[in-house]
Symmetry: C2
Subunit: 405 residues, 2 copies
Amino acid sequence: MRVVHKYGGTSVGSLERIRATAKLIQADIARGNEVAVVVSAMSGDTNRLMSMAQEMHAVPSAREMDALLSTGEQVSAALLSMALNHLGITAYSYNGAQAGFRTDSSHARARIKDVQSDHLIHHMQVGEVAVVTGFQGIDEAGNITTLGRGGSDTSDVALAIAVQADICDIYTDVDGIYTTDPRIVPQASKLQYISYEEMLEFASLGAKVLQTRSVGLAMRFDMPIHLRSSFEDISGTIVGGEDTDMERAEITGVAYNRDEAKVTIKGIPDQPGIAARIFGPVADADINVDVIVQNVSEHGYTDITFTVPRHDYTATMHLLQDLCVAMNAEKVKGDDTVAKVSIIGVGMRSHTGVALKMFDVLSHENINIQMITTSEIKVTVVLDEKYVELAVRSLHRAFDLDTTI
Amino acid sequence: MRVVHKYGGTSVGSLERIRATAKLIQADIARGNEVAVVVSAMSGDTNRLMSMAQEMHAVPSAREMDALLSTGEQVSAALLSMALNHLGITAYSYNGAQAGFRTDSSHARARIKDVQSDHLIHHMQVGEVAVVTGFQGIDEAGNITTLGRGGSDTSDVALAIAVQADICDIYTDVDGIYTTDPRIVPQASKLQYISYEEMLEFASLGAKVLQTRSVGLAMRFDMPIHLRSSFEDISGTIVGGEDTDMERAEITGVAYNRDEAKVTIKGIPDQPGIAARIFGPVADADINVDVIVQNVSEHGYTDITFTVPRHDYTATMHLLQDLCVAMNAEKVKGDDTVAKVSIIGVGMRSHTGVALKMFDVLSHENINIQMITTSEIKVTVVLDEKYVELAVRSLHRAFDLDTTI
């Protein structure tokens, strides 16, 4: 198999961790695989560089920031190559430019245009390892760019696609995706397999393990991702195309996110365009709106409720107070102690009863549902934060996800 | 004027020093100059990277070492660009590849083949500053290379030649070249001007301010170097082509080097090829031989004496003991408490009495001369280390270099 590994900042966060990472690569080569590697900067290094930049300029030039930060991965790539050499493995480090990562010119959040990496395939074919810096590339003019949040995962997937790998392995500090958070439900079990779509839903619910962006890219090119632990050489969760297992469970997992707040404008005179008048300013303020519910209009007045990340709660409330006056609405209400709980599963496409069963389970526990939103493979409810554990536990049990020990 | 500045590790050794360096550049632009800049890594950074590499591999790959170390200059170049931006100056950092430094593939001691820097000229012409990483380049295959000792000075001179600068300014922690060491002779004065040839002699005598390599390159392309302080904006010493000043002093300066040892093989059967039999193995051991004296042969036997750097003394003595046996020579003698004192000056070409005057001055002070070597613009004597100060002081006075205060 041809595999592109990716190691995040903690996997190369110390010289000891770099040595351990080199051993994981050695083990995979010993299994007969052709391996290339994508690395992040040593954890802490990026912050060190950023704070130096801050001392030089309150708002450093994005181009220079990219030139500065890109050194972080170059350091870890060179050190990891040396560690591999020490194990007797021929290895070469490549920075973004050398590895052929062509991007657009949007510094700090560049998008990959293509990866010209034929020279890297040669290394893999003769048992050598190319260690490529994640998170970076160059634009057409030769400027160094960085990819922004989740960039290294995206580099990994893009490189895997370019070298026609069979799979890309993302080594991280968790060992896979679980049916739910094991800190809440000890019976939670690691999923062997999850579909791209499900992973996207998990990621958008704040599962920090994989960025939406890299999953989206993998899905588009059908490049399976093996999400696995960098602390032990065991298999994790494979994110891939939909399987055809007839027996698969109704739902794949239960996710939650506490980082939520809910705001409501009540008594808005119901006219065309009110949604735009509200969400325009909210978007301008870079606030991410999630679940939105608009009540059925009554006597020419309506209410709109939506959730925002909790750290945007105060800003959102201020904004809505102003809008309330401008729109002649009745009043603004808010609650920053709500949470989201979701059940996710490609199985539910053909199981219309799933949503109903979820509401039933929650009602049985006397948990009040404040808002509901559904997608093809997810049902999300907003509820009082204090019920999160109870809701997650009962749903996990009710949908037969508890493992028998 | 078009000027390429170079700042060494101490000039960018802290965020405060980077800010001060940005101000020096600003001052030069305010004088109406077009400026590009070459920077070294922040002092300490290279050692930090090297020690990490040592932890990964006892003998790290030279290619990976270059990839690792080259990040040092990239960091300082980006930070200096930000500091310039902060002063309202448009600036862009360029690493070796981006600046067009093409080298051969000798990692850790690459030689510059050419500098494709037309794009940097454009910045200078519109009042912008290109901040280029010194010490590095890329080879034909796109591998990162470093230039080795004195590399950043050489980058500076090479870039100045490429962008057709009028002069290259090397900012350093000394403010110029002095007639001799002011710690020994307080009346020593800063030279406004020194020829390339003289500077080469000073450099080869261990003056750490400029590497022979960069002076040689400057001489070949007649690119004047302004050696000046990075701590205050005053003029230093200009190294350039010979001036035609009729009034110039017989000698330009008195230099010395304590880092010397002297070894002798006595009673070697005098046959053709003995020099090769001795200096072959010495060169193989990477020992730099300097002054060599061979006695006139007597009764078929001869003596050979030469100096080596003091830290190579023990190794040289061991080597010679073996050679002594192999060559049927009488014995080996050594002394690691000698020093060299030289008088240097292009003026002496037409002043044959200079050497004689030197010997006279030393003899007057009862200083015994152990060895003598002369070049077109230099007379060097080897003497007991304890006489260094006395010799330097009396020569400085005798050749009218003492300034009147």
